[in-house]
Amino acid sequence: FIQPLFSCQFSDSAGYVGFANLPNQVHRKSVKKGFEFTLMVVGESGLGKSTLINSLFLTDLYPERYIPGAAEKIERTVQIEASTVEIEERGVKLRLTVVDTPGYGDAINSQDCFKTIIHYIDNQFERYLHDESGLNRRHIIDNRVHCCFYFISPFGHGLKPLDVEFMKALHGKVNIVPVIAKADTLTLKERERLKRRVLDEISEHGIRIYQLPDADSDEDEEFKEQTRASIPFAVIGSNQLIEVKGKKIRGRLYPWGVVEVENPEHNDFLKLRTMLVTHMQDLQEVTQDLHYENFRSERLKRTGK
């Protein structure tokens, strides 16, 4: 996933001090330490969240999964379930934690269903604040939620009242990335219409979703723009491999054709994955510099420290 950031040669020419090599050193240390990233996934049951996560990270985060029936769901409240997996690619280690929120939006009365989620996010901030203020700061574990994929139903006409309320309550606590899953249920026209509707409603309600930073000098400006223009990403996930033109690819087999997960003409899956992995660093920074700092100043103001 991650390419070396800089490459530069040592030189003994006059005037050259050598600290331009610092980023390299930072990079090497980080690689040795490994990266941590916490991704939260929120949305009604049955929107394809688990399948998408498995497809994104090419792993099965949910083996032996039990899906409760409707009668059971009536009694259930929102749960928080965190699964951690270590992924390594080209010597770079990523400790990925996926925080799932089963029960969200299932109940007949969903008024309180995001209180649990808010508490969880705040608790991680609280813990970090505590560790940061403590004596032993060498091994602070960062369990703060760096990014929240919010799943919008492809079956509606836009955002639902619950979607609006959730995003308004959480856009000041976490980076929200809206995702339209099960996008193969939409024709291209319907997809565009839905995306536009969602963006209009987000702006109408003053919801602040995660903004991609401007392209760096060494990044492809046009690609960045294209990516930005695709938000919210309309994606398809799949746990199955299908043979298409002699190759085995991730997809869904219908009587009327095959939907390919990694085909950019079929859906935005590749865009979403690329965006996520190339912005892990930025997502962490924004969490630290914006959301966490907001929490911290509120907290310290309250306790009058």
């Binding site: 007949i108 024709t187 219908y254």
Partner: protein, 350 residues
């Protein structure tokens, strides 16, 4: 005396309106009048033709209600079912309107005609159902509406000077749209069907079924059927109302294998293999609505319109309405209901 051509014409005409005749009479049918002097033939069977002619002249009412969360394709499906723009969305309503804050009941009537038969079709939409954050009791306005139609009918029935043909606004069929999550029913689905299956014929359908592969569809249907059974929800056709073995066999198959129908709707036509078909065009293929390999829309259509339309009305009248009537009479001490309004406007047989 020829029997062939006329006989088949009768049968063909009959099958459009009423279910196929139960059994062929043992005595060979004769087409001409009742006054034939051949032994054994009376001509009672011609009543079917008489009924058919009568129905064609008077036409009939059919009231279908659609219930489900916003965006599940209810309006499109109803338009596809009746091959006309009969839904609320087509009658000048803006497709992009806001979700109402409470459940509304909107009834739109159309007269459609086919083969000389006139149907006054009323589509009752329920926008706002299941769309709020708090959906508690959101089925109550719907139950209230259904009972109000029974009440209207009852009031007309108990009148001394009652109309020859009581206008029938009772809901004959309620299509309940299940979201194609692939997991299970939602708590709201259970609650709605538990409450309403006792007052109206509920036909559950899985909406936007083009989101599921064949395997996912089969699994999901099995799960839903099981959940409905475990929770004691009797959808139409209800087991207890099967009239005879023939009914039971036919309906068993529908109940245990076909339902809930996994459907896809569309009002757009595309060219496939030289034919114009209703469908949805995607980058990976065209989904044909009336192709049984793609979805079960044709099964739903045949079921509701071509085979069980009359039965839906009969069960509504003979079972649901009678249940309501009996309760009302009981509550009233065995007497027909009477309100101030009734006293003023009509004389009742109290």
């Amino acid at each position: 005396p020829c029997t062939g051509p006329v006989e088949s014409k009768n049968e063909a005409a009959m099958s459009e309106m009423v279910p196929e005749p139960r059994q062929k009479p043992v005595v060979p049918m004769k087409p001409m009048g009742i006054n034939t002097s051949l032994l054994g033939y009376i001509g009672i069977d011609t009543i079917i033709e008489q009924m058919r002619k009568k129905t064609m002249k008077t036409g009939f009412d059919f009231n279908i209600m659609v219930v489900g969360q916003s965006g599940l394709g209810k309006s499109t499906l109803v338009n596809t079912l009746f091959k006309s723009q009969v839904s609320r969305k087509s009658s000048g309503w803006n497709r992009e309107e806001k979700i109402p804050k409470t459940v509304e009941i909107k009834a739109i009537g159309h007269v459609i005609e086919e083969g000389g038969v006139k149907m006054k079709l009323t589509v009752i939409d329920t926008p706002g159902f299941g769309d709020q954050i708090n959906n508690e009791n959101c089925w109550e306005p719907i139950e209230k509406y259904i009972n109000e139609q029974y009440e209207k009918f009852l009031k007309e029935e108990v009148n001394i000077a009652r109309k020859k043909r009581i206008p029938d606004t009772r809901v004959h069929c309620c299509l309940y749209f299940i979201s194609p999550t692939g997991h299970s029913l939602r708590p709201l689905d259970l609650e709605f069907m538990k409450h309403l299956s006792k007052v109206v014929n509920i036909i559950p359908v899985i909406a936007k079924a083009d989101t599921m592969t064949l395997e996912e569809k089969t699994e999901f249907k099995q799960r839903v059927r099981k959940e409905l059974e475990v929770n004691g929800i009797e959808f139409y056709p209800q087991k207890e109302f099967d009239e005879d073995l023939e009914d039971k066999t036919e309906n068993d198959k529908i109940r245990q294998e076909s339902m809930p129908f996994a459907v896809v709707g569309s009002d757009k036509e595309y060219q496939v293999n030289g034919k114009r078909v209703l469908g949805r065009k995607t980058p990976w293929g065209i989904i044909e609505v009336e192709n049984l390999n793609h979805c079960e829309f044709a099964l739903l259509r045949d079921f509701v319109i071509r085979t069980h339309l009359q039965d839906l009305k009969e069960v509504t009248h003979n079972i649901h309405y009678e249940t309501y009537r009996a309760k009302r009479l009981n509550d009233n001490g065995g007497l027909p209901p009477m309100t101030v309004e009734t006293e003023e406007n009509h004389e009742s047989n109290l």
